[in-house]
Symmetry: C2
Subunit: 209 residues, 2 copies
Amino acid sequence: MATDDGEATGLRERKKRETRLALSRATIRLCVERGWDNVTVDEIAAAADVSARTFRNYFSGKAEAIAAGHLDRAMRIADELRARPAGEPLWDAIVIAVRSQFAPDVPDGTPSPEDRRWREALLLVLSEPALHGEVLKANAAAQEELALAIAERTGLDASRDVYPRLVASVVGAASAVAVEHCLRADASMPLETLLREVFAAVTSGLPVP
Amino acid sequence: MATDDGEATGLRERKKRETRLALSRATIRLCVERGWDNVTVDEIAAAADVSARTFRNYFSGKAEAIAAGHLDRAMRIADELRARPAGEPLWDAIVIAVRSQFAPDVPDGTPSPEDRRWREALLLVLSEPALHGEVLKANAAAQEELALAIAERTGLDASRDVYPRLVASVVGAASAVAVEHCLRADASMPLETLLREVFAAVTSGLPVP
DNA sequence: CAAAAACTTTCCATTCTGGCAAGTTTGCAA
DNA sequence: TTGCAAACTTGCCAGAATGGAAAGTTTTTG
């Protein structure tokens, strides 16, 4: 009776997601405003109206809270790949799955507030080495998931064959390079285009230009 | 008169390197023996006969101390690439550079004690998520260096062109997959062979098998 | 509705972090 | 050789992080 779709299960689940989101956002906002090491866990917890202990029930630290959004996003790439039609060539499906999460098509030129926060968080990461490791860990986790999806699709055994993990890692590496290049450089090129370019290079064996 | 080669500069430098090595080794040994969270910085410092404060002058924490050896090794890949003859094709040079550090040719079947420690440390990392991030950071740092070396060799601008960073990232990703696969699996294949296989796949555009 | 399960909070003992200043060692040149 | 300066180590310490335990709340379930 209650469940309509696979999302909002119950009140409890919804509240947890909200708390998690509130904590993550508060962390990002405060760290952007005051700088990474001028923010304590207690302050973040206070800003989100929970106890400091609750913060630690959700995240292991500031870094994890900041990278949480990125982790979710990266994790969804595997879901997206699983949702692609079975007949579609693997690499086409992969490129579409990555773009769906990292360079979503916007109707008009409006980058959703969600996306703006993502950019904000990534810029914070680039400026703070202490955060780098956390994002790398998020990418690694997402790649693990992606490797499983690739294994399913190709009918390979993820624990025996290297191919799934190899492709997942390379996809993760290439995506990260494109995103970072886009954030660093003077945004001379839309992420959309850069992703296409990077994957074209990878699928053609990275020939020396 | 004193300096014979480019290594041992002075007494001071040598002592620092020794202290650093001693700390790193002590950390690995203790963590292997007692388990990651049954080891404190004070114990490590005591084991290396220095103060706890000195430990922190060298490393930001246990994780960094454990990953230090891996970082050095990965950093040397860029040096090795720079040392390859200029006429050699880029990918040949890269593969050789990687192998020189990750799968060194051993005269007889004797893996140097240095290599045994490397394996030991990596196994520790696989078993402890808290360490994963640190190794990923080490890889990222090494890739940055590798990207510069690739830029030099190809005559590209590392800050403008994506190619150097892209190749460095993919090389890092592929190497990591090979090494991990070798450590996880029942070592069904020597790292040597696995690296060759992985790079062959990458340079041919990762075709679906 | 009441028990059970899940989550939050308070309390607290350890450990981590990093700045500071005093004590040592090493490098260098007069 | 002597003495100074730079570099390194150490003890001290306060603020923050970490994570276990148990009591207090809220949601779920029978």
